[in-house]
């Protein structure tokens, strides 16, 4: 039986207690997207500011949620700053493949599911760094949606930021 230590690694609790990049950005230039976890009522807001070269200039996270959704969002925000949108998409694929997200099992993923087509591609081999700490979530299937909520919301923001 997986224990709580598998789920709540120290680094996760640290990001939960001291979330990085909390707040808002002015829209425009930033885009704002919202994601909901219908299971638990959690809500994530992503503000994404992408410069003309397609690089993430800044990101802010709003909303409320459990330790898994909040720490995932916090680590994500730290990981994507300064990356190009293509790199962000590759990182997202990597993260979601670690979460074993396949459309057939998690297709009701929420608002960001439009972008999930990316999962069909082989997982990009992008190093996940601190995000590896969330690997234990896979052993708690109900919580996978908590971990992926921020990422789906981010993908939506990436789509919007690059739409025009």
């Amino acid at each position: 039986m997986p224990g709580l230590e598998d789920l709540y690694r120290e680094i996760i609790l640290d990001h939960y207690r001291n979330p990085r990049n909390r707040g808002e950005l002015e829209t425009p230039p930033a885009v704002r997207t919202e994601g909901f976890n219908p299971l638990c009522g959690d809500e994530i807001v992503v503000y994404l500011d992408v410069d003309d070269d397609g690089t993430v200039r800044d990101i802010r996270i709003g909303g409320t949620g459990c330790s898994i959704s909040q720490s995932s969002a916090s680590m994500m925000s730290a990981a994507v700053k300064g990356k190009t949108i293509d790199e962000v998409r590759a990182l997202t694929r990597s993260f979601k493949s670690m979460m074993s997200v396949h459309e057939s099992t998690l297709d009701a993923e929420g608002e960001g599911s439009e972008s999930d087509g990316a999962d069909a591609e082989p997982a990009a081999d992008v190093p996940l760094g601190d995000l590896e700490a969330l690997r234990g979530v896979v052993k708690f299937p109900v919580r996978i949606k908590c971990a992926t909520l921020a990422w789906n919301t981010l993908l939506q923001a990436a789509d919007e930021a690059t739409a025009d």
């Binding site: 039986m1 224990g3 709580l4 789920l7 709540y8 609790l13 299971l39 638990c40 009522g41 959690d42 809500e43 409320t64 949620g65 459990c66 330790s67 898994i68 909040q70 708690f140 919580r143 908590c146």
Partner: protein, 424 residues
């Protein structure tokens, strides 16, 4: 119908013996994560006593056949068993005409939709108003929004006091000109018991009918729809020791008689020609298709079980467990723990929606699960109420006949573990 129902060992002698009750529920013998299971999620769905499980097995093993129209022996036995269950349900809730006024549906949600789609569609239009309360479950909100989109009536809301009771300050204005008051008898989030009788009198005086969401009430308190004075009452079998897949709508006969059918199909017609159809009489008119036959027999057994315990004793037991829980948790966690809803155990049901400072309900429930304590995190299908309470989610523990003070102690210990895990 004695061949498909039995009564409990635990009941009948006037005293409430929770140890005996627990022995009637096979699932309580199992472990979860290597510990004895502590089941505190009966507000979502209750566990089933052996008597219910066996009554349904016995139906399948001895008289399984489709009901109505069958002329052979076991088809007639199945029909009789289902109709006996109908009368039993009706008597249990004080229905004046149990054989015709009790409609079997798939769950309370379908019952509530039936009221909206049949009575509502026939009676509501622009200029009309339906009054709801801010305590409602989505099942008593969304059908009204859906109908409103087609019929264009007004929806008004009875607001709440800070301890999640109905705030009746403006009730006369809210009911003025309304055609229906649709309210819950007990909140599945805060446990708030609403003043159904008083509100029904006021609604009737204002010319409005009353549809009661009795989903959390019938399982826990003696119910007499005639004494309450309501016009419709909806509830689910699975929250009252019975099976899933069965709901009940009770309605006053003259209202049901005047209402158009809801779903169409076999079983609900008197006649069908190439030009149209004539609906059947009550209750068949509202029961299109093959009904959940075994489930009605399971509900019959569940009601026999509850009746043998005595609903007054059930309520008394739950109030005492709830009072013990509120006292224990408040002593142990003080300000760190918020329990939403009325603070007086006698004013509420055995439903505790909790917020533990610094621990999100989802995390809290996860830690509790590791201790085999089953509670439910989330919005409990009452998002407007959550917004009024100012929270996104709560962790909800709910009590029923088989819960005792040991369960409360296990809950308190697990909460303590969660608090120390997440706060430093």
């Amino acid at each position: 119908m004695t061949d498909v129902t039995t009564t409990s060992d635990a009941a009948g002698d006037g005293t409430f013996d929770v140890a005996k009750v627990r022995a009637d529920f096979p699932i309580l013998e199992r472990e979860s994560h290597g510990r004895p299971i502590v089941f505190l999620d009966s507000a979502a769905s209750s566990q089933k006593p052996r008597a219910v499980i066996e009554a349904m097995d016995r139906y399948y093993e001895t008289i399984n056949a489709n009901v109505h129209r069958g002329v052979y022996e076991i088809a007639e036995a199945a029909t009789n068993a289902m109709e006996a269950a109908r009368v039993r349900v009706g008597r249990f809730i004080g229905a004046p005409k149990p054989a015709t006024e009790v409609i079997f549906t798939k769950n309370a949600t379908e019952s509530l939709n039936l009221v909206a789609r049949s009575w509502g569609a026939a009676n509501l239009g622009p200029g009309d108003a339906v009054v709801l309360t801010q305590l409602e479950h989505h099942a008593n909100i969304v059908p009204w929004f859906q109908l409103q989109a087609e019929k264009g009536f007004e929806i008004r809301w009875i607001p709440l006091t800070p301890d999640a009771r109905l705030d009746l300050t403006d009730i006369d204005r809210l009911l003025d000109g309304a055609k229906l008051l649709a309210l819950t008898a007990m909140s599945n989030v805060t446990g708030t018991l609403t003043p159904v009788r008083e509100l029904t009198e006021r609604a009737h005086a204002a010319g409005a009918l009353v549809s009661l969401d009795a989903c959390q009430y019938v399982p826990h308190l003696a119910t007499d729809v005639a004494a309450l004075g309501v016009d419709f009452a909806s509830f689910s079998a699975h929250k009252m020791l019975g099976p899933t897949g069965l709901g009940v709508l009770w309605g006053r006969e003259e209202l049901l008689d005047a209402m158009p059918p809801f779903l169409g199909g076999g079983g609900m017609i008197l006649n069908v020609t190439l030009d149209g159809f004539t609906p059947a009489d009550l209750p068949a008119k509202f029961e299109a298709g093959t009904p959940p036959i075994a489930e009605t027999i399971g509900l019959h057994a569940a009601i026999d079980y509850l009746d043998a315990l005595g609903m007054a004793a059930v309520r008394e037991h739950e109030v005492s467990v709830t009072a013990y829980a509120m006292r224990t948790l408040t002593e142990r966690f003080g300000e760190q723990l918020t329990i939403h809803g009325p603070s007086e155990p006698a004013a509420r049901g055995g439903v505790l929606s909790m917020a533990l400072e610094g621990v999100h309900p989802h995390d809290l429930s996860q830690v509790l699960d590791q201790h085999a304590v089953c509670v439910r995190p989330g919005h409990h299908c009452a998002k407007p109420l959550m917004a009024v309470l100012g929270v996104g989610a709560t962790a909800r523990a709910s009590f029923y006949v088989y819960n005792d003070t040991d369960d409360v102690d296990a809950l308190a210990d697990a909460l303590g573990e969660a608090a120390s895990f997440f706060t430093f």
